[in-house]
Amino acid sequence: MTLNSILSSRWLKVPVFALCLVPALWLGWKALNQDLSANPIEFITHWTGDWTIRFLCITLSITPLRKLLRLPELIRFRRMLGLFAFFYASLHFLTWFVLDKFFDWNEIAKDVVKRPFITAGFTAFVLLIPLAVTSTKGWIRRLGGKRWQALHRLIYVSACAGVIHYYWLVKSDIRLPVFYGAIVAILLAYRLFTSVMKNRNSLPRATGAAAREPT
């Protein structure tokens, strides 16, 4: 049995789904045991934020891994992983909105406008909403493959905004935001590289010569 046939088996989605839920369940377990540190709201905020950026990285790594490891079947998990990124982003957002600010609209609006790190985080979250909404087969059909794909490239912007959000909020220890920034940079650089290569290879000879002319 090849890895690809294992990946294509119907039941594998269930354990993967369960695995993706572990961070949320672990958080719930710690909350039940009152084990969320001296500042539980901060702990929940950091926990859900960490898992958002991790799931964004995992989702973005699917395409490169499919090609590099020759595992096309990995595509079956991309939507689920992306939706989990949105799930943790929503928890992260709601923690801030409900637990931290407790629906203080005035404070929230001021924060979004005045605090660059919140502006970045808020942008990253908002950009994920249309992607979550249009993640169904019906929406792919309605939009058409090309337009759907173009829309879903918003995840690149969202991941970058997420890294900036993280980088701007730490006080002095920038190791983790730089680490995630490097991962996102590598994942996006791979796409840039492959698309440049593809364009170069797919250009017909005649127009290829024309394209080399200075414009």
Binding site: S37, A38, L99, L169, D173
Partner: protein, 309 residues
């Protein structure tokens, strides 16, 4: 008739002496038990005797000991809040001396025992507000910093006091890992240092200071953001010019020399108007000078607190 009575404990069950003497080191060798014992030792600070109450104490609810000892900013021992509680235990706090020098008539080196006897120990229950918008209420034990200052007789040139934390690279993070230059340094203007609310602190909750909270001696300046209250002091220097301070060097836009608690002057990245008291769900309003305005506001009369943040 001979009635044979069985001994209470058969000699075969008595642990040989060399084995039971080894048991402690064996237990300490097990990673988990060792950590548990170390944590217990960390809590078992010696009780401080003869501590008097202070009229400067607040009547607000004191934050639980476990929170104050497991939620620390002490970047030399980890940048996550829970790290100093375990990593700071490696710091050797005995013997300990504090060198006092600079613009004074009587430069000298104080042993920690001499520090403890400089003035009667008082319990000061203070609000403690971190620049990160959380706060705690701590029953510190110490005495006014001015007791030490008077003892060393500052000259007319002494306009500022500079403080320095111990630097022990063997047990501390590197500067790049901590993200701040080391050793940690802080400073006060002379009139701030002389203010009766500013204390040299040697204990809390009736005991000696835990290492993660700045053992064996630290500063507590309750009307300023927590990072001004420098920990584990080894040097105090009286100087003419405003001394450099660690967070100001790290990011001068965000952390000023004064760093008085001020709900009207926001941190560039977040509001300082409210704070979360550890253990409370709702944020509470931050008070000007952390609620010590009646005592300290006159120190800053005529100063633009937006510029002198």
């Amino acid at each position: 008739m001979l009635i044979k009575q069985a001994p209470d404990i058969p000699s075969s069950e008595i642990t040989p002496k060399h084995l039971y003497l080894n048991r402690r080191s064996f237990l300490a060798g097990l990673p988990l038990v060792g950590a548990a014992l170390a944590a217990r030792n960390a809590r078992a600070g010696a009780k401080l005797e003869g501590v008097t109450k202070s009229p400067f104490s607040t009547t607000e609810k004191v934050t639980p000991y476990n929170d104050v000892t497991h939620y620390n900013n002490y970047y030399e021992f980890g940048t996550a809040k829970d790290q100093p509680a375990s990593w700071a235990q490696k710091l050797k706090t005995s013997p300990w001396t504090v060198k006092v020098e600079g613009e004074i008539n009587k430069p000298q080196v104080f042993d920690i025992d001499a520090i403890m006897k400089l003035a009667p120990l008082e319990e000061r229950i203070y609000r403690h507000r971190c620049v990160e918008a959380w706060s705690i209420v701590v029953p510190w034990i110490g005495f006014p910093l001015n007791a030490l200052i008077k003892k060393v007789e500052p000259t007319a040139k002494a306009r500022f006091v500079a403080f320095q934390t111990i630097l022990d690279r063997g047990v501390m993070l590197s500067e790049s890992a901590a993200g701040i230059p080391l050793p940690y340094v802080e400073g006060l203007r002379m009139d701030e240092a002389m203010h009766p609310l500013a204390i040299l602190c040697v204990g809390m909750y009736g005991e000696e200071l835990p290492k993660q909270d700045g053992a064996p001696v630290r500063l507590v300046v309750p009307w300023k953001y927590g990072f001004k209250s420098i920990k584990s002091i080894v040097k105090i220097k009286f100087v003419e010019k405003q001394p450099p301070t660690t967070w100001n060097i790290t990011n001068f836009r965000e952390y000023g020399f004064y760093s008085n608690v001020n709900p009207e002057v926001d941190h560039p990245r977040w509001s300082q108007a409210s704070e979360r008291r550890l253990g409370e769900f709702f944020r509470r309003k931050t008070l000007m000078f952390n609620g010590y305005g009646d005592q300290v506001a006159q120190l800053y009369a005529g100063m633009d607190l937006r510029k002198n943040y």
